[in-house]
Each structure stands twice: as C-alpha cells, then as structure tokens.
C-alpha cells in the first residue's frame, strides 16, 4: 500500500492566507480566557438572581411514597419548592427516547435522581431547605447486573412495560447485530488454524469536564425564558426543554455561555429544565451551579461494558472470523444508548478486514447511573477488546503485533462488516508504521534517578528497583458525524460589510464552542473564502438555525462546512455585484487580501469599494451525504458518514512490586485529512489520548448495588501533569474528497487506541493478561480481586 503526504493537494480549491485554513492563528477567546474575563456558565450573575438546587435520591431503586415540602417552603429565604406535580408541561424528556422524568415521579431508578428543586437567596439557604424536604421511600431490590437485567421475570423491569412507553424488549434499550460473510459457524471456525478467546471489562468512565453543569434562566416579559447555558447542542436542548415548560420553542431562547469542557457529558440535559422551571415559577433569574459531587450524578457517563471476543486466524496471520458480543450498561434512562450500540456493533471489529463476522451489541436498562455519550462513543470499549485480541493472536502466532495489524489492516476500498465500502483514504498500516518509526524514549536512568521520573513519583516509592519497561501498540477506527440515517445538518450565517473602511466578515452559528477551537476555525474559513483579515464571531444562540451537536468529531466538518457554504454564497453574490457593475467577464476571480483578484488580470477592486454601504448577509445549511440505518438483523447498511483512524505507541514503566504504572511516552499518528488548524489538531490528539490513558490506569466510577462510591476528584482520579507523559504526534493529511477541504474529524479517534496501547505496554512489562480497564495496582500485584 503506498501512501503519500498530500498537505498541498487541495490548495487549488482555496486561497492561502496566513490566518486562513492550514495556519494556526490564536483563538479569538484566548485573551479573555487568560485574563479571567471569559464568562463561563457558572459565572453568570444577575442583580436579583436566586440560586436553584435539586434534592437527589440517596437510593438507586425505590418507590416514592410521599414527598412533604411543608417545612422547606417555610424556610426563610426560600422562594419556591417544586416537585413533579408542579411541572406545567410534559413530564418527560430524553435525547432519543423520552423516558426520563424532569423530576422523579413515584419511582427512583438511579442513585442521585432529582426529586425536588428549590430556589433561594443563597446556595446555603437552598441546601438547608432541601434538608427539610421529607421523602418516604419504599426500597426496591436493585437491578444492576447483566443477569438481573436480562431476566425481568425474576428481577423485574427498570421501566414497567405498562408505563409511559412500550417495552417489548424488557430491560434492553437497544440491540444491533452485524453479520457478514458466512457469519460465524462451525464451518467457518474450521477454517482457522488459531483461535483466541477473551472476556474483557471496561469500567465506567466520567467525562470529568472541569466547568460544572451550570447556567442561568431569566424570565422574559413575553412569558418566555432566556437561558444562558453550557451545552453541546443548543437546539436539541430547546427541543427537550420547551415542552416541559409548556412553552412553544420560540419562547425558549438559548444563548451559549462559556463552556468548561464537555466530552459528551453535556449532550443530555442536566440543570436546564430545573433552572427554567424555577425561573418560570418565581419570575426571577435563577442560577444553578453543580458542585463536583452533584456533577457526578448530574450527567451520564461512558457505558461500562462486558465484551466477549473470539477471533480466528490462519497460521500466517490472516484473520478468518470474529465472533463478538458487547453488553453495555445503559443505566436508568436511555440517553444516547441506541446510537452507542450502533457504533459498538458497526465499529467493533476494528480497522481490520475480517471475512466472516458475527457481532451483537446490546445496551441494558439497569438501576446503575445512566450512561450515554463520551468521547469515542461505543468505539472505545470495543477497541480495548479487539486490540487485546490482536496482541494475543500475535503472541500465539509469534508474529510482531504491529506486523499482524498491518497484515489485516483495512485500506481505501475495503468493505466494513456492515457492507459499507471505505471510500476515502484509510492509512491504518501507514499510521502504525509511522508511530513505530518514532524514536523511543531513553531507558530509565537509575544511576541519576529523579523520583519524578518513576511510577509513584513524588511519593518516593522506589530507587529504581522492581521497575520494568514495556512497549505496546494499538490502532482504532471511529466514525465522524451522526450515523444511521440521521441528518445532523449545520447552519451558518455569514455577513460581509464594511466597517471603518475595511471589509469585515461576521460568522453566526449555534455551534457550541466547548474548548475545541471551532470559533478559531470559523474565522479561518471566513478569511480563506472571503479574503478578509477581520472576522467577527457572533455569540452562539438559537436565533440562527441548528448547528447540530459538538460531538461525534463533527463540528469542523459540519458547521465548518456550513460556514464555508455561506461564505462562498456571500462571495458569489459579491462577485455578481462586481460583474454587474464593471462588466467583468473573468472566470478566475477570487477574494484575496481585501481585494477582488483575477488570476489573469491581477487585483481589480478593493472589496470595500465594491461593497460600499451595503451588506451581504446569507445563511446556508450544510448536510453531509445521506446514510441509512443498519439492518436490524444483519447490520448491513451505508451507516457512517466518514471513518477516522489513529494509532498509538505507549511506553510504560511498571513498578511490579507496588503495582504502580508510569506512562513514559504516548506517541500518536493520526490521519486528519486536512489540518485546518495544526496547533488545535495536535491539541485535540494529545487531549484525547490523555483521556484514554486515564481509562487505562486510573479512571473509574465505582458503583456498588447501584450506588456511586467515588463522586469527587479525591476519589475519581483523572491524569495530572505528572501522570501524563510527553506525546509526540505525527499528523498525516490524506484528503477525503467527500468532506469540506478534505478534512477528517479529529477529536475522538485518539481516545480509542491510547487505552489499549497503554495496557498492551503494561502486559509486555508484566506478562499479565489484564483483561480489564482501568488496570489497578492490585491487578498488577495479584493482591486484589
């Protein structure tokens, strides 16, 4: 397979500009952020605002026999106390299935479910009022294990079949099969010389964005609500909020407040409805800010998973078949579980050509915390399992693990198990080659030991004894954009006018900037397409059409694409104006450096002169190419918009006596199609890789009998700067001709393969099987479960 670097292959489409696409101009919000002046959702303040707060269930499964708010209402400083009965509109909401009550009604299905809300003059007043609400519960046995969930006759239903929606499938939220080739039969198994079987477990990971769920709802004179909110998708929030408030959508206006990270955890609603309900009730602005503890209960997590894989290969390492079953614990409410299942099923064979496949992915309802979107979205769990299988297969066949992967890697033209052809570059083998070719870090220097270099670091746990190094590799495949027939279009409005004698482009979208740098890219696109220096980014709100979600690695592709379309439309109108006015008959016009330029005749006229006092203001929608749902029984279908690939090499030092791991280096190679902003691309890859590192060695929400045991940053650990190693990144740019500028979504792929690469390195260092993440010290020392 030959691969070439083609950064320049699309330059004929657009005009280069130092601050246009392909450059790394500084973020437009950067100065505000370093000055402490950027207004995050938790920074909202209003003169007569109240503080909202929710009462949450200490139980995971219970009947609510009564709720007595009498004393809470009387508490001085309290302005409103609301329960289920006070909801003016529809009682339920949800991203895909409207199964979640805005406030609990009659039943508690997970630890932390909100029962009542208060508004008070001070957060402490609100806390004290909540403590005065008396709730009588009748505890129910929890339904938390796979066995319990799959046997509702014995253990019951999380949602009774007779409740607000049908449940023909019991506690199953969604399931998806994928069968290709001959499937996996005894005849197929007989074709394999070597068979590897493995059972894998992935723990429940938290997005752990730093900015807590927060926002402010302000009642408006027209009876509507203005909500200032940190979210990933303004319009889908509004779609869910308005019916609960009993308001038409146009009376619920959302403006994006500063977002302190998201990573999928803001796809579902958290405090939005509660703040709006309290604002509606009190007629005053209501601010809600979760504490970190409440945040752990206030958003969905990454699905914990059990994965069973059986992989067959020939003696020379060619994959023959894979049989897999992935069980995802969806928790109490559906959230994004159906789409997560679709991803796990369709991407769960990895970036490999496997002639015969039998896959089943399932998400269950349980009394565990609800799970939904987190960076990687169903592809992360599967990647841990299929990459472990590849390493075991390599060992069984005595083939180099990278070579084995390269031997079976998909490439452009390969057919996925869903029957979908990969119709753009898929440089899986090349990414592995590149990441392997990077120089290795030096060996641990034990003669001049700096404890900060070893596992245990400043805890001063070793002088270098008992420390073993390992190296591991992994590669993954992720989809970009919403799949399975969903038209997640984006809207952009671009306005060109002359301000102070200079042409200025204004870009207005509803895209949630959550830190990824979309606002930077929008400016670059506008500059590239319109040849202007100055670009204004309008605040994101619901005055413009939907931009879809800031998730699925889709925003640069989708809303970036919409900005491109709108800017092109503005340019065409401007040039039409010029043709009309000056009678140009050139076919080689572009906008460069504030001027209309003909490739043959040179600069024709300044944009400012052509435009004069008028403004061109156009809105365009960008739709990706259509996809179709996967067939329910076979999983066949053109289900994904685009595929994206990343490979990792991890180098670890393991203190085998104490079970401590230090990741020494985490190198990545990723194809990004076209790096619109190389600095941000590398930042995305390093940040995504680090979240995968966290899942490998430390991050897990511990749940026992449905109860969350570690809802704090003291007990739920995310990587610190001491836990995180240098991360060399090799960016490959092979254009996807279907995508704007040939780009490929960047954000998620690195989160897939870093976890299995780190664990592969620990396996190499220790010789242990390690079929579970996160790997804990006791797994390495044999002293725990």
């Amino acid at each position: 397979m030959s691969q070439i670097r083609t950064e320049k292959n699309l330059q004929n489409i657009t005009t280069a500009h130092p601050d246009g696409i392909g450059g790394s101009p500084l973020r437009p919000d950067g100065i505000l952020k370093v000055k402490g002046e950027f207004a995050y959702s938790s920074d909202m303040w209003h003169e007569d605002m109240l503080w909202g707060m929710a009462l949450r269930s200490p139980h995971a499964h219970a009947k609510i026999l009564s709720v007595d708010i009498t004393e809470a209402v009387k508490h001085p400083g309290v302005q409103a106390v609301m329960t289920y009965d006070d909801i003016p509109g529809s009682k339920f909401y949800g991203l895909e299935i409207k199964d979640q009550p805005a406030l609990a009604t009659g039943k508690i299905r997970y630890h932390g479910e909100a029962i009542a809300i208060v508004a008070a003059d001070h957060p402490e007043t609100a806390r004290r009022a909540l403590a005065k609400i008396k709730v009588e519960y009748e505890l129910l046995p929890t339904i938390t294990t796979e066995e319990q969930c799959l046997d509702p006759e014995t253990h019951g239903y999380v949602h009774e079949p007779s409740e607000y929606k049908g449940h023909a499938s019991g506690n199953i939220v969604h399931s998806q099969k994928v069968i290709s080739g001959l499937g996996v039969t005894d005849e197929v198994r007989a074709l394999a010389d070597v068979v590897i079987k493995g059972d894998y477990v992935v723990g429940m990971q938290d997005q752990a964005f730093l900015g807590p769920e927060s926002g402010m709802a302000v009642p408006a004179e027209d009876g509507g609500i203005d909500l200032y909110i940190a979210t990933q998708w303004l319009h889908v929030d509004r779609e869910q909020i308005a019916p609960v408030l009993g308001l038409p959508e146009n009376k619920v206006r959302l403006t994006l407040a500063g977002v302190g990270g998201a990573f999928g955890g803001r796809e579902d609603l958290s405090m939005q409805i509660h703040a709006c309900l309290l604002a509606q009730r009190t007629g005053k602005p209501v601010k809600i800010v979760y504490s970190r503890e409440e945040s752990f209960f206030g958003h969905v997590h990454r699905h914990p998973a059990k994965l069973t894989y059986e992989t067959g290969a020939t003696r020379d390492g060619k994959l023959v078949y894979c049989d897999a079953r992935i069980v995802l614990d969806g928790g109490a409410y559906a959230s994004a579980s159906p789409a997560v299942v679709g991803n796990a099923a369709s991407l769960g064979m990895g970036p490999y050509e496997i002639p015969n496949v039998n896959m089943l992915a399932v998400a269950l309802y349980s009394n565990n915390p609800s799970c939904g979107a987190m960076r990687g979205f169903g592809a992360v769990q599967a990647c841990f399992a299929y990459e472990a299988q590849m390493d075991k297969l390599a060992a069984a066949l005595d083939i180099d693990p990278v070579e084995l992967r390269q031997l079976n890697a998909v490439e452009q033209g390969s057919i996925m198990p869903t029957g979908q052809e990969i119709d753009s570059p898929a440089p899986v083998a090349e990414l592995l080659r590149r990441v392997k070719a990077l120089p290795l870090p030096p060996a641990l220097d034990t003669t001049h030991l700096d404890v900060r270099d070893i596992p245990g670091a400043l805890s001063n746990t070793s002088h270098g004894e008992g420390i073993v190094r390992g190296v591991g590799y992994a590669v993954g495949i992720k989809n970009v954009g919403f799949s399975e027939g969903f038209d997640d279009y984006s809207t952009a409005r671009v306005r060109l006018e002359v301000i102070g004698g200079e042409p200025v482009a204004m870009v207005h979208t509803a895209m949630a900037e959550v830190g990824q740098g979309g606002v930077t890219v929008h400016g670059q696109i506008a500059r590239t397409e319109l040849g202007v220096e100055r670009v204004t980014i309008h605040p994101a709100n619901t005055e413009v059409g939907s931009a879809g979600s800031t998730s699925a690695s889709r925003q640069t592709y989708m809303t970036g694409g919409a900005v491109k379309l709108a800017a092109e439309a503005v340019r065409n109108e401007l040039l039409a104006l010029g043709r009309k006015r000056y009678g140009w008959d050139y076919n080689d016009l572009s906008l460069v450096g504030g001027k209309v330029v003909s490739a043959s005749a040179g600069a024709l006229v300044p944009i400012a002169d052509l435009l004069g006092d008028s403004a061109i203001d156009l809105t365009r929608e960008h739709h990706h190419r259509p996809t179709v749902p996967f067939d329910k029984e076979t999983g066949q279908g053109f289900g994904h918009v685009q595929y994206t690939f990343c490979a990792h090499r991890a180098v670890v030092d393991v203190d085998v006596e104490l079970g401590l791991v230090k990741v020494v280096e985490l190198a990545a190679a990723q194809d990004v199609g076209k790096a619109l902003n190389p600095l941000s691309v590398v930042g995305q890859i390093q940040g995504g890789s680090t979240q995968g590192l966290g899942l490998a060695v430390m991050e897990e929400i511990v749940v026992k009998d449905g109860k969350v045991r570690n809802p704090s940053f003291t007990d739920y650990l995310i990587p610190t700067i001491l836990d995180t190693p240098p991360q060399p990144v090799d960016v490959l740019e092979l254009a996807d001709e279907h995508a704007p500028y040939g780009l490929r979504g960047v954000g998620e792929a690195p989160t897939l393969s870093s976890t299995p690469a780190v664990v592969a390195a620990i396996r190499q260092a220790t010789g242990l099987a390690l079929n579970r993440v996160p790997v804990r010290p006791e797994h390495l020392t044999g002293t725990g479960e």
């Binding site: 370093v34 000055k35 807590p212 940053f713 990587p719 001491l722 995180t724």
Partner: protein
C-alpha cells in the same frame, strides 16, 4: 459579617458574608471577580488558585473571613494595566495551552509563582509545580510548552533589561 481586604491591589469590602463561605465564593459572587474557577471546591483541581499574601492557595479551601486585612491576587490581577498581559498569560495563548480554559486561571497563577521562584525550571520542575492543577482538555503538552515559552521570554527580557 463584613470582610475587608486587598484584591489585586485595591481595597475591597464584602458585606453580608456568610461564615461558611469560601474566599472563592466571595471573590466570584460578591466582588465581581469570577476569574478564579469552581471546578471541584475541595482543593483537588487547582482551578481556583490565587495568591494569598504572595503564596498560591486554593481559594475554595480558604474561609472568606480568613482574608481579613490580607492581600489577595487573582488571575484578573496578573496582567499589568500599563504593559498588558503577563508573559505567562501570553505564552498560554501563543502555545495553544488554552482549550476550554476552565483550568487556565489556576494554572496561570501557579505557573506565575513557579517562574518567580525558579525562572528556568526543568520539565520535571514544571510537572511538580503544576501537579495540583487538573486540565481535562490539553493532555498538558501545550501547557508544558507555554511554561517553557514564558520562561524563555522572561529570561530574555531580563537579560535585555540588564
């Protein structure tokens, strides 16, 4: 209660402060200084780091009343009104160390303190000094770059002034 102290060189006064309030809450909600951030409010994430009498502290762990008659300097007080951004602030923007930016104020104060004490820190010195500041977006590589850059700029500008 009333608390009187110096915030970013200015005498300030907060009234009706509840005894259980943190310095962080008082800064954010009573004094219009929301730059210090509220990511964990239990001293684990460092996003609320401020100088208290010249030493970096987690302002979420300091009771509001403890700062009576003392000096607090927050991220809003790092930039010089005359000369603009501090080197550390500019370096975070230039190096791509800011994504969502929620950890940034705390990291800036902590990095500023590091470079005051140790103008040419080794990579391990930087990691040790910033190990109490969580960032979820960047994977820390660009933050390392930013502190190295700020160190280089501070050192070169001090050479020039000498």
């Amino acid at each position: 209660m009333r608390v009187t102290f110096t915030a970013n060189g200015r005498e300030v006064e907060a009234d009706d402060v509840w005894e259980g309030e943190s310095l962080l809450f008082m800064l954010r909600e009573r004094l219009g200084l929301p730059g210090s951030k509220n990511a964990c409010e239990q001293g684990e994430c460092g996003s609320c780091t401020v100088y208290l009498d010249g030493a970096p502290v987690c302002s979420c762990l300091v009771a509001a009343g403890q700062v009576q008659d003392r000096e607090v300097r927050t991220v809003e007080g790092l930039a010089d009104p005359e000369t603009g951004l501090d080197d550390v602030q500019q370096a975070f923007v230039d190096a791509g160390a800011v994504q969502c930016g929620f950890c940034t104020p705390g990291l800036l104060v902590q990095s500023h303190d590091l470079l005051e004490r140790n103008p040419q820190p080794s990579d391990n010195d930087i990691r040790e000094a910033l190990s109490g500041n969580l960032c979820r977006c960047t994977g820390y590589e660009k933050i390392m770059d930013a502190v190295r850059l700020a160190s280089a700029r501070k050192c070169s500008s001090s050479e020039v002034s000498q």
